[in-house]
Subunit: 397 residues, 2 copies
């Protein structure tokens, strides 16, 4: 029986057939001229999307590997750093830092809330005069809670302090406003299977000139993730170790499709679809977990109705409606569900999600008037994307 | 213009369309039941192929990443180890060990020669009574020179010494005789794009009980490559970080095709095709770089005729005949060429390679009677695969 899945976890996300088919082309030599051209073109495209003239490297590893590369290439054993943690991925940064013997001070922010730039300023100000921390680690888009931290403002504060700024934008970059050079981000990591709409296996990392200076002083062990070897090989059109060629080729096709749409349109589409998603959920009386002002454009976390465990909701969505969403991580397990809307996502995908959600809630004896969420989401989407029609017009295009 | 390539580098190797197409299926949830079943099945299949009841983990990284995992999960800073180096991949192990601050003593073996088990025995014997090394690092199949080290005999010597045995079998496992448990190999790494005939991006690593004991004492930093987190997640049917799902699915299909053929047949096929390849090259008066007794079943390195730089040969093979082979690495650049015959390779693929090679050599004004290498390779293959026909028979099948 043909049962297409609606994959709506916060990454890996839906990958267009054109991208998948590109990845199924016959293998090529990863040290030949064809790959060199591909790598050069992808690097330029990523520099454009991330708005940087600095280095961008493609690693054969998932986003966590790139996060580790960010640590190992900039720090030394015993270095002091600050990590702002408002979700599971901030915790992951902290774990990696601890695994490497870095003295990582953790600043807790309630889950579902954003990291407040004033909190960052006050925190860093208290360090003045002391043997302060060398770098600040921040999560841009926290998929565990559906929060987008105000990175531009945080970056401005960190720049004032003169510390290195390392950003996990694994699930943000490519879908949200971001300007690596203008905002002064020293190291930023992202991953192919998130907003870039490609299969997993490749992650990307930027390095500013300040980050390279930190590299020169860094003594943490690095081999597979040594970015200096990436830089030396990139100049020859290659990678230090065998790259995940088929995933690179898929990502190349994703980048091509994204360039066609244009980054501004992509950012607006994500914002509009996230808005529509929140209105649809609210029409079902499902509370959004995040502060609305900092709600993520790529992932929405929502609370359950009383006496419904999100694991059961997720199971029925999958088993009966082929709709795949994610649950709460860590302390939020069972309490929230998370729906992804990143990459090549359309309003139709979200309406399909809502149709499954409405049917599922009905199955759990929740008082749901069928169609209410779909209608609310579509109304919100129309409101966000179309100016109100004042006079009848023959055609909008 | 349709110009199919004959990709004959020593990995990534040719990937069958069935495997590529499998990798182009719509993405699935890497934390759902479908992926859990896939991961469990692949782990069992790999245990069968590698002949181990110990742990096997699939990492989202190339073989060099798995080599790093082997180091980081078993050793501590300042530990003494011995590395036997008879090619570029032995050097890579040494580089990784040094990057991690391990006191790695390097035993040099001339490139093109095998690591002699007696040399290993004598070397380890000299350590007796002293503060000896904790582990021995060996390359199984050295693709930089086309040498297969006699791992079974080396392993027996290392077992006597009581030291940990860590093996890079990136380009050997899946194509050559190997019995991880019976031979007593503690850690072995291999990679999807080599003999397993899948795209690159996933590598595999085994851990014996002794290796886990070493893990418990190890203090090297590890996060992305921490195998304890892999073990904990595998029990839940998942991986610590997002896996390269499409490459996993490709590898699953490769493993299915390999199980159909059977490991004994696969090993014999590689041996026979390597033999045919050497005879074809010798018919062109191209000397095999490796000792014949230890010639690799997966990759053959051969010397150039006088006054021919292998880079030129390789360029013309690629530009005029769409045949892609590799050059010499490091000190052998320009001097040798390397042809891969691993994974889903047939005698027809090798005859196609020889047809291109014969035409190319002719173009370089080498005295080549066209057809001589093809005929020699085919004769050798027939000799290896078919008993001499003594009486006319109606049918061999």
């Amino acid at each position: 029986m043909y049962r297409p899945q609606n994959l709506r976890i916060p990454g890996p996300t839906f990958v267009p057939q054109a991208v998948l088919s590109a990845s199924a082309r016959p293998l090529i030599n990863h040290r030949g001229p064809e790959f060199a051209a591909l790598l050069a073109g992808m690097t330029r495209a990523l520099q454009d999307f991330l708005r940087t003239r600095g280095d961008v490297f493609l690693l054969t590893a998932s986003g966590s590997g790139a996060m580790e590369a960010a640590v190992a290439n900039t720090l030394s054993s015993g270095d002091k750093v600050v990590v702002f943690v408002n979700g599971a991925f901030g915790e992951r940064f902290h774990q990696i830092l601890r695994a490497y013997g870095v003295d990582a001070r953790r600043v807790e922010v309630p889950w579902g809330r954003a990291v407040d730039p004033d909190v960052v300023r006050d925190d860093l100000a208290r360090e003045r005069g002391k043997d302060g921390s060398k770098a600040v680690f921040v999560t841009h888009n926290e998929t565990s809670t559906g929060v987008l931290n105000p990175l531009k403002e945080i970056a401005a504060v960190v720049r004032e302090s003169g510390k290195l700024l390392v950003v996990d934008s694994v699930s943000g970059a490519g879908a949200v406003d971001l300007d690596v050079d203008d905002w002064g981000i020293d190291v930023l990591v992202t991953a192919a299977q998130k907003a870039w709409g490609a299969p997993p296996g490749v992650s990307m990392i930027t390095m500013s000139e300040r980050a390279w200076k930190a590299f020169d002083r860094s003594n943490l062990p690095k081999a597979y993730f040594n970015l200096q070897t990436y830089k030396a090989q990139l100049e020859k059109g290659a990678t230090p170790a065998t790259p995940a060629v088929t995933v690179y080729i898929a990502l190349q096709e994703s980048l091509r499709l994204m360039a066609e749409e244009g980054l501004d349109s992509i950012v607006k589409r994500h914002r509009d679809l996230a808005f529509a998603t929140r209105r649809g959920l609210q029409a079902l009386n499902l509370a959004i977990f995040a502060d609305e002002a900092f709600a993520s454009p790529t992932c929405t976390a929502f609370r359950m109705p009383t006496r419904l465990d999100s694991r059961n909701l997720i199971r029925v969505l999958r088993e009966e409606h082929d709709t795949i969403i994610a649950g709460g991580q860590g302390r939020l397990e069972g309490q929230i569900a998370r729906v992804g809307h990143m990459g090549f996502v359309t309003i139709q995908d979200m309406l399909s999600f809502f149709s499954a959600l409405e049917l599922t809630l009905r199955g759990f004896n929740q008082p749901v008037e069928q169609g209410v969420a779909i209608s609310a989401a579509l109304r919100a989407y129309a409101e966000a994307t179309q100016p109100p029609a004042r006079t009848p017009v023959a055609s909008r295009r």
